[in-house]
């Protein structure tokens, strides 16, 4: 034995990456199986024993439905892989390999190196820092129109449109609810129901707007009512709009909008008040809801070679942030087509606030390769972190103990004592943060 130990030559060989990934996949599969079995046993043993008929549960792992590619992906430990990927990309690249390496990366993913702020590629020690590069000043001119919303990032427009009944269309025919994406805006009402679309109706969520009116005409009426409340005018809607409404249109005549139709003379007074309020209103103040508004959405996909910092698309005030510690599926256009509600599953940071015309939200959604979302004005935010996952599990468990439904996110509000805006103000084009590898 002594001779064998001394004379045997030890030869170290690296483990193939595929084998490592396979092992991690199998291990995760085994772990999930074990956990499912344990939960089932717990439920069986405690059935009918508690007030709610069961034990408090942990945050459930997202189990999406979809084709076999999605099913396989859902068994992989995507967040762990993302973190390993991030660590790997933080390894320092040898000095002489940096320039050819980054040039090869740029060639494959279409990076325009003439725009990069630092022309000497040796200064980037690793791929992570090159990925999070800055651009030369002036290389991205901001559109001068003050009434425009500008692109927050370099990328491809995947989908855009109007939100109908609180549902966002991911691809043609596949929709997800706005509440699932952004979280429920209001706390539970006294009767226990959660109002689902108050942000869709009210430009200022502090205003008690009640349930949302569905049709456009009803919305206009509700808007007038709110305007009357805002301005402290004592008359009510029936008094205000007592004049008979036009019953219908003559053949060949364009349909007439109620907001432009002739009404009682008191409406003219309201309009005059509105014009006066408009002229004295600060740019950031919510618009008097005289104008009927709607919710619009736009989805922009950032490819691996794109500049991965994001900028403010408008001048707005960020009031709160919600961090959803979800999964980290790829957000490639292929998976967006195959996995319904992808954006509502993935880890994301929802920034909520208001702009000139009312509600405004900005949601960076993470992916497997770029799981870390950075918000420059929020130093406490940690995404794709083991700690946040554990904290979310704990919060879910505590909510279940209290017999409440776990909201699925942690929330923070921005309060700037030196500002009267009641949040963090951002200018159009101002850098807000970015996506980092892993």
């Amino acid at each position: 034995l002594n001779a064998a130990l001394k004379s045997t030559k030890i030869e170290w060989k690296p483990i193939p990456i595929g084998l490592g990934i396979g092992f991690l996949g199998l291990f995760q599969f085994y772990r999930v199986q074990q956990r499912e079995q344990r939960i089932q046993e717990e439920e069986r043993s405690s059935y009918g024993s508690g007030p709610d008929g069961g034990k408090p549960k942990k945050r459930e792992r997202i189990r999406p439905s979809g084709p076999w590619q999605v099913q396989i992906m859902s068994t992989l430990p995507l967040k762990a892989l993302s973190r390993i990927w991030g660590r790997f990309n933080e390894l320092e690249i040898p000095y002489y390999l940096r320039v050819p390496g980054f040039k090869l990366y740029s060639f494959i993913f279409g990076v325009n190196l003439s725009e990069v702020a630092e022309p000497d590629l040796h200064t980037y020690p690793n791929l992570a820092s090159f990925f999070y590069r800055t651009l030369k000043p002036g290389s991205r001119p901001i559109d001068p129109s003050p009434n425009a919303i500008v692109s927050p990032a370099d990328g491809k427009v995947i989908q855009f449109g109007i939100i109908d009944n609180g549902e966002v269309e991911q691809v043609k025919g596949v929709t997800y609810s706005l509440d699932a994406l952004l979280g429920s805006v209001r706390p539970k009402s006294s009767n226990g129901s959660i109002p689902t679309s108050n942000i869709a109706s009210s430009p200022n969520s502090a205003q008690p707007s009640g349930s949302r009116a569905r049709t456009g005409d009803e919305e206009i009426i509700r808007a007038d009512e709110e305007f009357a409340q805002i301005n402290g005018i004592s008359y009510t809607l029936p008094n205000l709009f007592s004049s008979p409404q036009p019953k219908g249109n003559e053949p060949g005549e364009m349909p007439v909008d109620q907001s432009t139709s002739p009404r009682a003379s008191s409406e003219a007074e309201v309009r005059a008040d509105l014009a006066l309020a408009e002229s004295s209103r600060s740019w950031w103040a919510p618009t008097p809801s005289k104008d009927p508004t709607a919710l619009y959405y736009c989805v922009i996909y950032l490819a691996p070679g794109d500049y991965h910092r994001f900028h403010s698309p408008a001048s707005w005030v960020v009031e709160s942030r919600r961090h959803f510690a979800g999964e980290l599926y790829s957000v490639s256009p292929y998976l967006q087509r195959t996995l319904p509600g992808l954006f509502t599953l993935n880890e994301r940071v929802v920034l909520l606030g208001r702009w000139r015309w009312g509600f405004f939200s900005f949601t960076p959604v993470g992916a497997t390769n770029v799981g870390s979302i950075v918000v420059n004005f929020d130093r406490e935010l940690r995404t794709n972190s083991l700690n946040t996952d554990t904290a979310a599990d704990r919060a879910a468990e505590e909510a279940a103990k209290r017999g409440e439904l776990y909201s699925g996110f942690s929330e923070a509000t921005y309060e700037n004592a030196s500002s009267v805006l009641g949040g963090h103000a951002l200018k159009r084009g101002e850098e807000m943060g970015g996506f980092q590898l892993g």
């Binding site: 009434n147 370099d154 427009v157 007439v256 104008d291 619009y296 736009c298 900028h311 405004f360 949601t363």
Partner: protein, 49 residues
């Protein structure tokens, strides 16, 4: 990675007979200036009121 913007903007009014009707556009309301699949860069206009 992906960015989802959700925002409120005026719907505008229905166009009068003289103004005519353009699909998806109402005078005084929000209008998109992009197409699906279009590549955009930081600062480019997505739409306007």
């Amino acid at each position: 990675s992906t960015i989802v913007l959700v925002f409120e903007a005026p719907k505008g009014r229905r166009p009068t007979f003289d103004e005519g009707y353009v699909e998806g556009q109402r005078p005084g309301g929000w209008s998109w200036k992009i197409k699906q699949g279009q590549k955009v860069k930081v600062g480019e206009m997505l739409g306007f009121v």
